[in-house]
């Protein structure tokens, strides 16, 4: 990433940033089809980013983008790792509310569904949802797809994914003892979960 040499310039929507033949429109910019000019669509600082020299395509135009001061809330997208709180466990699936996308917390409410076949990578048809999650668990999951109109489809079918924090029936935070079990430090009771491998 390379900055243009001169001082950062503030632009407002509608200002011309350059010709479409010279620059590419990035975030906060658009190309008007009738005259092939690049216009700003946001208020903020104009940045010119040079293309990476080893980019595969022949297009070596720099990209011009405008960054606004207000950050929009993060939105889960396929491939992102999210933290979610399980709200309901059913025989074929569990529903969860997404709380964080990567390191950022979400501003709106997004719901996700972990289907039975997405809980673990092996023996996917023998999964018992009630031995994998319980309501209130915090799980780390991968967003598989945008899902249906109501919920994202989530998956925990990796070693690093699954329950990262859970409370036992006596109210203590449990300690993981294997990839399928967690133990309560107060009562030494063992409960079943699909445990995530955290750290080393």
């Amino acid at each position: 990433m390379e900055e243009a040499g001169r001082e950062k310039e503030v632009v407002t929507p509608g200002e011309v940033l350059g010709k479409a033949s010279d620059v590419r429109a990035g975030r906060g910019a658009y190309v008007a089809p009738h005259n092939n000019l690049v216009y700003a669509s946001l208020t903020g600082f104009r940045r010119i980013v040079s293309p990476p020299p080893d980019s595969p395509d022949q297009d070596q135009r720099p990209t011009v983008e405008v960054t606004h001061h207000k950050a929009h809330g993060v939105i889960p997208e396929p491939g992102s790792v999210v933290l979610a709180r399980v709200t309901k466990v059913m025989a074929k699936m569990a529903s969860a509310d997404i709380m964080c996308v990567g390191p950022k917390s979400v501003r709106e409410k997004f719901t996700g569904i972990i289907r039975q076949q997405d809980v673990r990578a092996t023996e996917i048809d023998k999964v018992d949802m009630h031995l994998s999650f319980r309501a209130g668990d915090i799980v780390r999951a991968l967003v598989l797809s945008l899902g249906d109109a109501r919920a994202y489809y989530l998956s925990t079918a990796q070693n690093e994914l699954g329950v990262v924090s859970a409370e036992s029936t006596s109210g203590a935070t449990m300690v993981p003892i294997s990839w399928t079990e967690m133990q309560c430090p107060l009562t030494a009771q063992i409960e079943h979960r699909k445990v995530a491998k955290v750290g080393g």
């Binding site: 407002t12 929507p13 509608g14 008007a32 208020t43 600082f45 207000k70």
Partner: protein, 241 residues
């Protein structure tokens, strides 16, 4: 009645081609994603923008673009005689529609499919030209919210009284019953997106009156740009960059 004196001054002391003083402020509503107050003389409106957010009513959701909604209302105390008007009367429904269509034309709605943008404008003081002031406030609020816009849309009105084209009519001139042209304009793209007129005008005079309103729009646009740049610089300064 005489609206332009022999000396060429209007009732409030302005010249025919003079605008009222305009003032704008960004960030008047803390909870909204974007907000602004806009004043044209004694007309004062407040605008708040929420979104883009999830569509509340699923049946209105569109898969290729964002839904834009607008609600216009007048505060009970905004006029001289306090009126208890029911919410959603014909006048405010019409102005809501006009503002919605004008804003929709300048928002890049195709970038935000399956979402909705709500624009709320309320008139705090009414002294003519509320329609224009609302559009200007809404533009500022949308720009503050960081919603991608084709251009800053601005609006201004003009009229024709005592054989003189007048820029930016106030309430007294507005209620004279003469022609009243409201124009919405994209200044950098040089395009008119809104054109309304009450009463009638010969076509050659109409051209002059409309051109006057367009000049007013350009002046408003320059001011709005200044405010936006000032606001961005101020925020940057506070961040200490």
């Amino acid at each position: 009645m005489e609206y332009v004196s022999p000396e060429g001054l209007r009732l409030d002391g302005r010249r025919p081609m003079e605008m009222r003083q305009i003032r704008a402020e960004i960030g008047a509503v803390a909870k909204a994603d974007g907000s602004a107050v806009f004043e044209m003389g004694n007309t004062k409106v407040i605008a708040a923008v929420y979104g883009p957010r999830e569509v509340q009513n699923r049946s209105q959701q569109m898969n290729d673009k964002a839904l834009v909604r607008c609600e216009y209302s007048m505060a009970n105390f905004s006029t001289g005689d306090r009126m208890r008007k029911p919410k959603g009367d014909r006048r405010s429904t019409e102005i809501s529609l006009v503002i919605r269509q004008t804003m929709e034309a300048c928002i890049l709605t195709h970038l935000m499919p399956r979402s909705q943008i709500d624009i709320f404008v309320q008139v705090l003081q009414a002294d003519g030209g509320t329609r224009s002031a609302c559009i200007n406030a809404a533009t500022l609020a949308l720009a503050d919210a960081g919603i991608p816009l084709r251009d800053l849309v601005t609006s201004c009105s003009s009229g024709y009284l005592n054989s003189t084209p007048l820029l930016d009519l106030n309430y007294v001139e507005d209620s004279a019953g003469g022609p009243d042209v409201t124009v919405g304009f994209l200044p950098k793209l040089d395009k008119v997106t809104l054109l309304q007129m009450d009463s009638k005008l010969p076509i050659d005079i109409f051209e002059n009156v409309m051109q006057l309103a367009i000049e007013g729009c350009k002046a408003v646009a320059n001011y709005i740009r200044e405010i936006l740049l000032e606001n961005t610089k101020q925020l940057e300064y506070r961040r200490g960059l």
